[in-house]
Symmetry: C2
Subunit: 226 residues, 2 copies
DNA sequence: ACAGTATTCCATAGTCATATGGATTACGAG
DNA sequence: CTCGTAATCCATATGACTATGGAATACTGT
């Protein structure tokens, strides 16, 4: 049946991927990197980690080759090694959602009440007619790194002050990092409270990209940096 | 940006799946369960684990809901919770193969020289014509749990004594548990050394099933149990 | 009810993972 | 060349994971 030590060595290699995804903080980092490259301090802040812990987690991900690095000036920018990694993260996240009963209460506790959804397919069907305004509520840097073509960029933090930029009659579809990101949830609730017709795209930018749909980069349609 | 504790709790849930796949032995168990249900002692023997360690690993997998149990008599049979789990394992394994340079040498060390391949597509194209004999070289229990319709069952351990059962002129396609299983490799090498034309199906039973292709169960075409 | 077997539970020892603070390295600006 | 900043390296304390042997539990067959 073959050399047991060689077999163990092979599964040992496979497990490097599993080990890299065995920490909640590392999964959070992978999720963030799915939006585009980021440098260490930024990731540490966003994932609520100490700088050294964050760096250590990034080393683990790098050792498992899930991320690549690029040096620019004094900063080190990390990105996902490939779309396979984004798919892998999505697989783990969705498997958890299907298999673990505790995910649903945790999701509700974090995201709050459900808001009305629209699927990617429906959005694509109705997008051409001009009756829908697509709104990207992520930070501008993530919008710049890749967004749905034609989407407006208003980060959630600025949305309340910039409601006037939205066409009052159109139906608004807000999207963000994904189904487990608060931004679009909060945005839809804010918009509806202000009389808009608004729904949330069922998933976020990474899924859009993985579905092979076109994306646009750079030059925000709107102004930036609050 | 939402409650950090709630966010941590959510990613904590996701990481339960990652933690379950963070051990080489547990991945080996998942791979085995992809062939069909198995009881604890059998798994312990096949994965070269002590009984209690194996049971403990199975508890971890069960706690992450990757496996389900069925009691029959004094035995507990474990199976994968769903095809999603088989897909998830395949994703981790294939990600490792793509991302980690150390996988290829480990594969060669375990499986030996490469043997000639045939893809699922080519097999399907040429299967109807009768020029190909499909040979399942896994243990009979795994054949019984699900095999390619029309495949002959000759477990690798019996192949040398039962060469006469194979049509001498036909081209033989051997398959087993998957691309990282020794059985089909050894079978093809044995067949070629005995003058047969033989190739290995590029992947195994789980991939066949996940591709939505038909499977047959029970009643081996050939006799059994050496 | 009793003996036998499969599995799980429990306690333990050794190893590995995580977070953190201080020192070190690498780079760019002046 | 020197200073300031970003990131990594190093040492350490704490907590988690793994394998294993012995005890306890659950079920079958007689």
């Amino acid at each position: 049946m073959g050399d047991p030590r060689a077999k163990a060595a092979l599964y040992e290699q496979f497990s490097r991927i599993g080990k890299a995804m065995a920490s909640p903080k590392r999964l959070e980092i992978l999720d963030l990197l799915g939006q585009g490259e980021r440098y260490v301090e930024d990731l540490a802040h966003e994932a609520q980690l100490g700088l050294t812990s964050c760096s250590a987690h990034l080393q683990v991900l790098h050792h498992a080759r899930l991320v690549t690095t690029r040096k620019h000036g004094t900063r080190v920018y990390y990105s996902l090694a490939s779309d396979d990694v984004a798919r892998l993260f999505a697989g783990v996240r969705d498997a958890a959602a299907h298999l673990l009963a505790d995910v649903e209460p945790a999701r509700r506790a974090y995201l709050g009440e459900d808001v009305e959804l629209i699927s990617r397919d429906e959005l694509l069907r109705r997008a051409g007619s001009g009756e829908i305004t697509v709104l990207d509520v992520r930070p501008t840097a993530e919008y710049a790194a890749g967004h749905i073509p034609g989407a407006l960029s208003i980060p959630l933090a600025q949305l309340r002050q910039r409601l006037a930029e939205l066409p009052p009659e159109a139906e608004i579809v807000a999207y963000c990092r994904g189904a487990y990101c608060v931004f679009a949830h909060d945005a839809v609730r804010l918009l509806r409270a202000n009389g808009y017709t608004a729904r949330r795209l069922a998933d976020g930018m990474p899924e859009w990209r993985l579905a092979g749909l076109p994306t646009a980069t750079a030059e925000p349609v709107s102004l930036q940096r609050a």
